[in-house]
């Protein structure tokens, strides 16, 4: 059987030079960890700064008079609430209220939005969005190959990035962005991330990726014990899990509704018609039967993706994300369980390869950073009411 050709980000060679271990991630050849290891990368992001290559993410450009109306019809959050320079966490929904993908919607102008979608779902999303265009006056363009995206995350992110740009970074509020030069490279600088830390995501032309990568590492004094560290996908996963942010393909997909995933806060049922609105309104009225919850393992053992959740010996649900949490030094996870077992404090067990290991449902996020300054509004996390 022929090995399918893996896609590469513009930083592929840089990762290999740094000794990263590369893996197939949804068809992309991506660094899972660098020689320092996942735990060190994770901790460095929590305490100083981590740099992530997320150029595999997809970017879909939406331009035209009906840009907002169109995006509002295919996504669940209310794009009409955005102002220029603001971003929003949202989802592409099916008629059943389940999730085609979760995404960020950036507003550049009333007639210009940018949708940032997950890497492995980009082709599916592009088809979905294109095929759902009706008579709206919009022009759609898949720009994924043109952009690189670097995420600089952690308490030192602002200080490091500020040395490379004249943009007043401290004035950019959480979930807002500005356009400007970073090390002379025209960029979109967005105060967003997927780690639970303060930080920025920088979008620029793909051919400038190595320059930005090298200069940010240099500015962050990579190599020093308190310097920035390049981080792989494994650390990105444990960081987002500690912050209880949903991962598409694990915690949310086309079989889970937004309400079940505690993403009711991005379902603006009152904004007007959108795909999935009726199903979600009905489910909201009837109440969900299962819910995504966070749990901590209370006995020896590590819960992993796809393991069964037991209550009194009966299989009631499944772990969607399970991992050691390097900063919290606990073994944690997210799982769907029936609502009657979804309350914090509920004792559950996880079937860890045939062994029933005790766990307890806890409020999420597991980790919440201490905010030094007002960084704005909502954080996209799976919240337990």
């Amino acid at each position: 059987m022929a090995t399918p050709q893996l896609k590469q980000t513009p930083l592929n060679a840089a990762h290999r030079r740094m000794g990263a271990r590369m893996v197939d991630f949804g068809g992309w050849d991506m660094p899972v960890q660098y020689p320092y290891g996942t735990i060190e990368e994770h901790l460095r992001t929590r305490t100083h700064a981590g740099l992530f290559d997320v150029s595999h993410m997809g970017e879909i450009d939406v331009r035209g008079r009906d840009a907002i109306a169109f995006v509002n019809r295919v996504t669940s959050n209310d794009a009409s609430k955005l102002v220029d320079g603001q971003a929003q966490y949202s989802a592409l929904t099916t008629p059943e209220g389940t999730v085609v993908d979760d995404l960020l919607v950036y507003r550049f102008a009333e007639d210009h939005l940018l949708l940032v979608v997950n890497a492995s779902t980009t082709p599916k999303d592009w088809e979905w969005i294109r095929s759902h265009k009706q008579d709206e006056a919009v022009e759609l363009k898949n720009m994924s190959a043109e952009y690189c995206q670097l995420a600089l995350q952690g308490p030192d992110a602002l200080r490091i990035l500020q040395t490379l740009t004249d943009l007043p970074l401290s004035e950019i509020k959480y979930y807002h962005f500005r356009e400007g030069a970073v090390d002379g490279v025209p960029s979109i600088v967005s105060r967003t991330g997927y780690t639970g830390e303060d930080g920025f995501e920088v979008y620029a032309a793909a051919e400038r990726a190595e320059q930005l990568w090298d200069r940010i590492l240099e500015a962050g004094r990579f190599g020093e014990t308190d310097g920035v560290m390049p981080c792989g996908l494994a650390a990105r996963n444990t960081l987002r899990l500690e912050s209880a942010m949903a991962l598409y393909g694990n915690d949310i997909d086309e079989t889970t509704t937004l309400l079940e995933a505690n993403l009711g806060w991005i379902c603006k049922l009152g904004k007007g018609v959108f795909i999935g609105r009726e199903a979600l309104a009905r489910q909201k009225e009837e109440g969900v039967k299962r819910r995504l919850v966070g749990f901590e393992v209370t006995e020896r053992g590590i819960a992993r993706d796809h393991q069964d959740v037991l209550v009194n010996g009966e299989r009631v649900g499944q772990v969607t994300s399970g991992s050691p949490a390097p900063y919290l030094k606990k073994n944690i996870g997210l799982a769907y369980v029936p609502v009657e077992f979804a309350g914090a404090g509920q004792e559950i067990q996880i079937d860890v390869r045939g062994r029933a290991v005790g766990a307890q449902i806890v409020p999420t996020p597991f980790y919440k950073r201490e905010k030094k300054q007002s960084a704005g509004s909502h954080q996209p996390s799976a919240k337990t009411q």
Partner: protein
């Protein structure tokens, strides 16, 4: 390059074995710990448990993955490295020393002859890396 001490025997499942009379000390190789990444959890059997050769006797987990560990030879567990439950990182730091996993009384010390030498194991892992 992974460290492969000359005086040990190796399995294709990446365990090492040191012969001490009729007892075998068993752990995972430097190559294996390096492939796994940070070890955060080690599950081992209890003394007295008996295993055939190439049977799973426990597991070792990194942040990202779970790997089963296999007996290179048959025998009865006489001692396990209890300290790994609190300090699993020893498997990364000193895989051939403080990171040892079990001591087994071998049923048939002749089984050791079927294992790889350090030279053969080095060839085996370099082929696997390619």
């Amino acid at each position: 390059m992974a460290n492969v001490p000359e005086d040990l025997h190796y399995s294709k499942d990446h365990e090492w074995l040191r012969v001490e009379g009729d007892v075998a000390v068993i752990g995972i190789t430097d190559y294996a710990q390096n492939s796994l990444g940070d070890v955060v959890y080690v599950e081992l059997p209890k003394p007295g448990e008996k295993f055939e050769a190439h049977e799973s006797f426990g597991s070792v987990e990194s942040v990202k993955a779970v790997s089963e560990i296999f007996t290179p030879v048959s025998g009865e567990v006489v001692e396990v490295n209890e300290s790994l439950s609190d300090e699993p990182e020893k498997v990364n730091e000193d895989p051939y020393g403080a990171g040892w996993m079990i001591r087994m009384r071998m049923n048939n010390p002749g089984e050791v002859d079927s294992l790889l030498s350090s030279v053969e194991y080095e060839e085996f892992t370099s082929a696997e890396t390619e």
